[in-house]
Amino acid sequence: MKLLTCPINGVRPLSEFVFGGELRDMPEAECSDKEWADYVYNRNGAPGLKKEWWYHSPSGTWFVAERDTLTDNVARTYLYEQEAAK
């Protein structure tokens, strides 16, 4: 099974992780109903590099993975706050 690298705990099998959905920016509260519905219900299915939330269950660590959804190759993983700080 696939291996994923938790930025804190290292390489682990996928079964130790929980997928948290794509990392997406929430639209402003003043957005139209249509824009909000699009955010809530629609996802971009086109293949490409996606930022995803992943959670390492045994340690309770959330992090972000950049994964190419066509090749299933994870380019890198990092803590959300480390990117936000940049």
């Binding site: 099974m1 696939k2 948290g20 509260a29 109903d33 309770g60 959330w62 959300y80 706050e81 936000a84």
Partner: protein, 964 residues
């Protein structure tokens, strides 16, 4: 007569150990190391099985586990593959899928009516008249199976282990051995696996009458044994390829889940049959099968045989046949130009007649098709695939060896994502784009010739070493000068058919033509319509010919036809192996032993075991549950709620966090008070609920439902990653346990054991306080779930049992504190009018449908789901949850939860979500979704019961009772 040969160099059998066994009721004797098939063949038996559909007699064909001509049962196990399973003393074997024994199989008549059973016939027959289908179904089910399952099969533990290596090499033939040694010499931890009983592969049996190369093999094997970092595992196959080089290796004892840093696939190739009429008779076999019979088991394949070949391999096999004493009557070379390599002369010099540009038009059967008595040889036109029957001769023989080429055993390469291309020179698919860390060597890589394969193995190991950051040598692989190892179209047409392509499924050439005529002319459709490759061999001996035939039908090159996807497992893998030990993690509350000792019947809630109810002698389950509920209503009951989610939220922004996470208000919540906490998802759907207690200004203690506890904690952590508030979360779900005491005597019982003043006016509904009970530090929350007089007491997990016993002791004075389980709890909360998340709500329920408006503050700047609620609120409500009841002496069939509510116009209006018999009210009560226009007291609900009968209930006030 015995077909056993004299001592053969390198044979696998141990002649000192005779093995007695029986087959089809007759006794036989083989040697240790024989497979079932080789022992029987040595004894002169040839009819060892019957084909799946037409029940044609079958014998040895691939002898490589690439066909299932010969499958037997020993009474315990079934579908035993006789070609590769070693014979054991005392085995009592019967052939599967026969009626009356393999020689006199009563179903053999099916062969003569085969015209009525073309491919796909079952799609067209049997469906009318419909009344007859059950009759046909029984017959088809009986006919369509192979072995019979033994339901008394014992459970034998087959462990699954993980193992870690630097390099995994699959296949211990010349390429694989060479690769493994090259890598191991550089210090890598290497695992070399081979599905056969001994390593070496064709190195040991493809001799062409000459065993000089065996010395080299012996040296390599000896070196392999001497290297401590090289592990060789035989009788083990690589079942499939999974992400990041996870390859399960299956052997008799279980599965080893190998994680490697690099993988070399040196799995070789499946020899492919030429296709001609009656190519499936017992005595007709592949060249490599004959070689294995001779070299491994010292068994003569037949007395006098014809070799039909479409490549040079047939000549090598011919030399092995001659060396073992077989009379080779002729070589039939399907190629117009014949064989140009020197080996043809070697064969000719032994006095063997070679017919070039010829084919076997048909194999001539003995009576009953129980074997071969001759071969009709005719001129062959490769372009049209037709034989010239004007000029044909019959050669007498009792066996035929057939060679046409190879299909790469590339399943694991495909699964790893390898891009393959069709090589027009060698007429074989070969890897063209390998994923990172995957390497191919030998025949699977399109490399033929012994030296070339040895070099290719070293080259692959070198590539792997470089990939892993080591220094690798540059190895050149000399090119192969011979004729193409595979023939592009080794098919001989015949008007009477029975020229088999897939021996598992009894599919011949015309079946493909018919399928294409019906429009199933793309490889995926053709596979499924004809079932080619769908039998137990999964296309190992048939897929390549099928592709070639389809290509010719479509007039397309092979590379435009494509291949179907070879999925795990490479060989059928027993379910017991996949199950392994069967680990079922579960969580117990600290009261588990107490519950078990007091008759608890447990239910699974997620990973937790919870008492559903306590069994009482002489009472039914329903009665016990009713009595538990009655005890709560009349005195007091206690329930173990240790499984609840419990999360501490600390920090200056704790209240702010809760305001954003849940729908209600928390900033103005006073210390010492608890509030309902409702959680939505971003679409406004209710996800979980619990209670938030403010223990201090910057400290909230929040509960969540048992099944969602982990998810709620996770989401809290994730949202705060985004919000960056000053909060710290601590998941104390397992660190604390909790007990609810409820009922009119609850306060009295609890007050006796705590100094906390819980009198009615001092400790109102919703109050929370930290105190002591006995010497136990406890947090007491006044809740109102199953009763208005109820207290939820949270204590450290190690102290729950003590608390439980203190409550029982305190209540024993009045003699009426009883434990109750989740079933009674569900009933009690229903009486109290409380909807249960996940029971009365589903994945789409929004809070308005539940009437939970009171728990939502839409004036807050933000909470999860707020924006969606604003949109939902603008739309008309589609359904609403109401409390309903039946009349007191209701007689009709009682509906079930999930029965539908049907509107007057016959549409689905809603459904029943909760239903219980209330012991307090002596009536059936429940919750249901109805149209918003039917929610007034007294409005009628028409509920459709399981039998179809309609019953009527009516909307009543909620809660159903006061619950003191």
């Amino acid at each position: 007569m015995s077909m056993r040969l004299q001592n053969t160099s390198g044979e696998w059998i141990n002649r000192n150990n005779k093995i007695k066994f029986s087959f089809e009721g007759k006794d036989y004797e083989g040697f240790e190391g024989d497979t079932i098939s080789s022992a029987l063949w040595a004894a002169g038996e040839k009819v060892l099985g019957r084909s799946f559909k037409y029940h044609r007699p079958r014998g040895i064909f691939t002898l490589a586990n690439h066909d299932v001509n010969i499958m037997v049962t020993d009474g315990v196990d079934t579908n035993i593959r006789a070609d590769v399973v070693q014979v054991k003393a005392g085995m009592k074997l019967q052939v599967v899928n026969v009626d009356g024994g393999v020689m006199a199989d009563k179903k053999r008549f099916l062969d003569s009516i085969s015209a009525l059973l073309p491919v796909g016939f079952y799609y067209k027959a049997f469906h009318t008249p419909r009344s007859l289908f059950p009759f046909w179904e029984r017959i088809i089910r009986n006919a369509a199976g192979l072995g019979v399952v033994n339901f008394n099969y014992p459970r034998i533990l087959k462990k699954k282990h993980y193992a870690h290596y630097d390099l995994l090499v699959i296949g211990a033939g010349p390429a694989g051995l060479s690769a493994a040694l090259t890598a191991a010499r550089e210090g890598l931890e290497v695992l070399l696996v081979d599905e056969n009983a001994k390593p070496g592969g064709s190195f040991a049996y493809d001799n062409a009458g000459n065993s000089a190369h065996h010395a080299q093999l012996a040296n390599m094997l000896s070196e392999a044994q001497s290297l401590p970092n090289l592990t060789v595992k035989t009788n083990a196959y690589a079942a499939g390829y999974y992400a990041d080089h996870l390859v399960p290796i299956v052997d008799e004892s279980g599965i080893t889940k190998v994680r490697a840093k690099a993988v070399i696939v040196a799995s070789g190739a499946f020899e492919q049959p030429p296709v001609f009429r009656n190519n499936d008779l017992p005595g007709v076999m592949l060249g490599s099968a004959a070689q294995r019979l001779i070299a491994r088991y010292a068994v003569k394949p037949f007395l006098k045989g014809v070799v039909v070949t479409a490549n040079s391999y047939g000549y090598r096999v011919a030399l092995d046949l001659i060396a073992s004493g077989v009379e080779v009557a002729a070589i039939v070379d399907m190629r117009a130009g014949g064989e140009t390599d020197a080996i043809a002369s070697v064969v000719a010099n032994k006095g063997i007649k070679i017919h070039n540009g010829a084919c076997i038009y048909e194999a001539v059967p003995v009576s009953g098709k129980l074997g071969v008595k001759g071969a009709i040889v005719a001129d062959y036109d490769e372009a049209s695939a037709q034989a010239d029957t004007q000029k044909s001769i019959q050669i007498d023989c009792d066996g035929i060896v057939m060679c046409a080429g190879w299909a790469p055993a590339a399943a694991l390469l495909y699964q790893a994502g390898t891009g393959m291309r069709y090589d027009d020179q060698i007429h074989q698919f070969v890897p063209s784009r390998l994923p990172n860390g995957i390497f191919a060597a030998g025949k699977v890589n399109g490399v033929f010739g012994l030296n070339q394969r040895l070099q290719d193995g070293a080259r692959a190991a070198s590539d792997a070493l470089k990939y892993l950051g080591y220094v690798g040598n540059d190895t050149t692989v000399e090119s192969f000068a011979g004729s193409s190892p595979s023939h592009p179209y080794p098919i001989v047409m015949h008007p009477k058919g029975k020229n088999f392509v897939d021996f598992d499924e009894d599919i011949s050439v015309k079946d493909f033509i018919h399928a294409a005529q019906e429009g199933f002319d793309n490889i995926e459709l053709m596979k499924r319509f004809t079932t080619v490759g769908m039998g137990p061999s999964q296309g190992k001996h048939s897929n390549m010919n099928a592709i070639r035939i389809l290509a010719r039908i479509r007039s397309l090159p092979v590379n435009k036809i494509g291949t179907t996807t070879a999925r795990p497992f490479f060989h059928p893998t027993p379910i017991g192996h996949l199950a392994g030990r069967g680990l079922h993690p579960h969580r117990d509350t600290p009261l588990h032993q107490w519950h078990a000792e007091h008759g608890a019947v447990f239910t699974d809630v997620g990973a937790w075991k919870r008492p559903a109810y306590y069994k009482v002698d002489g009472q039914t389950k329903e009665q016990s549950i009713q009595n538990e509920a009655k005890a709560v209503r009349s005195a007091a009951g206690i329930i173990d709620v240790s499984t609840l989610g419990k999360i501490e939220i600390h920090g200056a922004n704790a209240a702010e966090f809760l305001e954003r996470f849940y729908t209600g208000n928390f900033k103005d919540q006073r210390v010492g008070r608890s509030r309902y906490a409702l959680m939505l998802d971003e679409s406004g759907v209710m996800v979980d609920d619990g209670v938030a207690c403010r223990i201090a200004e910057n400290f909230f203690y929040v509960t969540a439902s048992t099944s969602n506890a982990a998810a709620v904690y996770r989401e809290m952590q994730r949202w705060n990653q985004i919000w960056g508030l000053n909060v710290t979360f601590i998941n104390v779900t397992g660190a604390y346990g909790a007990v609810n005491i409820a009922g009119p005597l609850a306060r009295k019982v609890l007050q006796k054991i705590t100094l906390l003043d819980i009198s009615e006016d001092q400790f109102l509904l919703g109050a929370v306080a930290d105190t002591s009970i006995g010497e136990i530090k406890a947090r007491v929350i006044r809740v109102g779930f199953v009763s208005n007089q109820a207290y939820e007491i949270h204590v450290p997990a190690s102290s729950v049992l003590k608390l439980w016993n203190l409550l029982l002791d305190s209540g024993s004075v009045d003699g009426r504190v009883k434990p109750f389980g989740t079933e009674a709890q569900r009933l009690l909360r229903l009486e109290m009018g409380h909807p249960l998340m996940g029971h009365d709500t589903d994945g789409l329920t929004n809070p308005f449908e539940l009437g939970a408006d009171w728990a939502i503050n839409l004036n807050k700047p933000f909470f999860i789901g707020k924006r969606s609620l604003q949109i939902i609120r603008k739309r008309p409500l589609l359904k609403k949850l109401v409390a309903f009841s039946f009349k007191p002496y209701f007689q009709g069939p009682v509906p079930c939860e999930c029965n539908l509510v049907i509107s007057k116009s016959g549409q689905i209006e809603g459904r029943v979500t909760s239903l219980s018999l209330s012991p307090t009210l002596q009536r059936f009560i429940g919750f249901a979704y109805v149209s918003p226009v039917n929610t007034k007291l007294g409005d009628v609900l028409s509920i459709r019961t399981d039998s179809g009968q309609m019953v009527e209930a009516y909307v009543v006030q909620s809660p159903f009772i006061e619950g003191d």
